[in-house]
Symmetry: C2
DNA sequence: AAGTTAATTCATTTTAAATTGAACACTAGT
DNA sequence: ACTAGTGTTCAATTTAAAATGAATTAACTT
């Protein structure tokens, strides 16, 4: 038995399945399973949940949960809500696809694209320093093409966001 | 030292950097580094290369290379070209972004989306069998929303493809 | 300021994924 | 049908990523 969702003590079959759904989803996006578990449980739960609620219901460690919430906050996928009494923080999910995708693009996609463009610039500089022979012409052509890929991707992102925002 | 590109024997600094560029790229897409190395070397090389060429220049195993090429073929990211003499197969990269994205969507994205929709259908069935109380209404609402996410993603894919195809 | 509860950090452990390489399979040539 | 050259498969290993949990920090209470 391999792909189980924690010890899922006290999770209904329905809840466990929804959580599994989100685990698959975040895996596809290259995020850790725990992120899917946390967001998944928040998504199927009407009330806001605290870190300790998540730990005890999901049966995962406090450390994972804390880190998972940190990431989810950065992605704008959860928001903190006022805890009734005491200083405990409660979380609820942001359920707007627009927000979720926006956060993912901003935090995960754009940084990679940016570092790629940086590397590309370095490579172009390297080709410039080469003797201008047939091979360096070939290289220049290939790099130019990569530049076009990068540019298109950059243009595409806001289109995606616009499409998903209503 | 951690993020090195193979033993890169006989790879020029320029080639190694281009390969690194593609390694980062495929990592972002959740594909193994070896895929990036193979495609990367094909991308910076004017001549078509055989499996053995890739093995010896990249310093990775035959097994990885064979599996990597298999995946790249399935993605439509490389094509076989006639080997001069002998029965050896030579590969060159498909450098059209349209093709690459199309293959990735077809092979990696659509299957996940499809299995997600399947799971969603199961969940909807589960809610139907529940007593019609406030909680099941909440569940139904959340599942409906997931359905909209899924539908939108499905509609978005061809838009992306159209945008990237010229 | 000592005590209490909540949350974070991070060195270690665990788990999952990718890589290896030897055995196997296919094809062509002799 | 044997041999040599190519390519694939898959059990075992390695590597990278994620999870754990004890120690630490922060925030509040009395």
């Amino acid at each position: 038995m391999s792909g189980e969702v924690g010890e899922k003590t006290g999770l209904s079959e329905f809840e466990a399945q929804v959580i599994g759904f989100f685990c698959d989803g975040v895996k596809m996006l290259g995020l850790p399973k725990s992120i899917g578990e946390i967001y998944g449980l928040l998504y199927v739960t009407q009330e806001a949940l605290s870190l300790d609620d998540l730990v005890s219901r999901l049966g995962i460690s406090k450390g994972s949960t804390s880190q998972g919430l940190k990431m989810l906050r950065k992605l704008g996928a959860v928001r903190e809500v006022e805890g009734e009494l005491g200083r405990r923080v409660y979380y609820e999910p942001d359920v707007e696809l627009k927000q979720l995708v926006g956060g993912f693009i901003k935090e995960q996609v754009r940084p990679h694209l940016a570092s790629g463009e940086e590397k590309l610039a370095n490579l172009k500089a390297m080709v410039h320093k080469m003797p201008g022979d047939a091979k360096s012409d070939f290289y220049a052509g290939r790099l130019e093409r990569l530049g076009r890929w990068s540019k298109r991707s950059r243009i595409l992102l806001p289109i995606i966001q616009k499409f998903l925002g209503r």
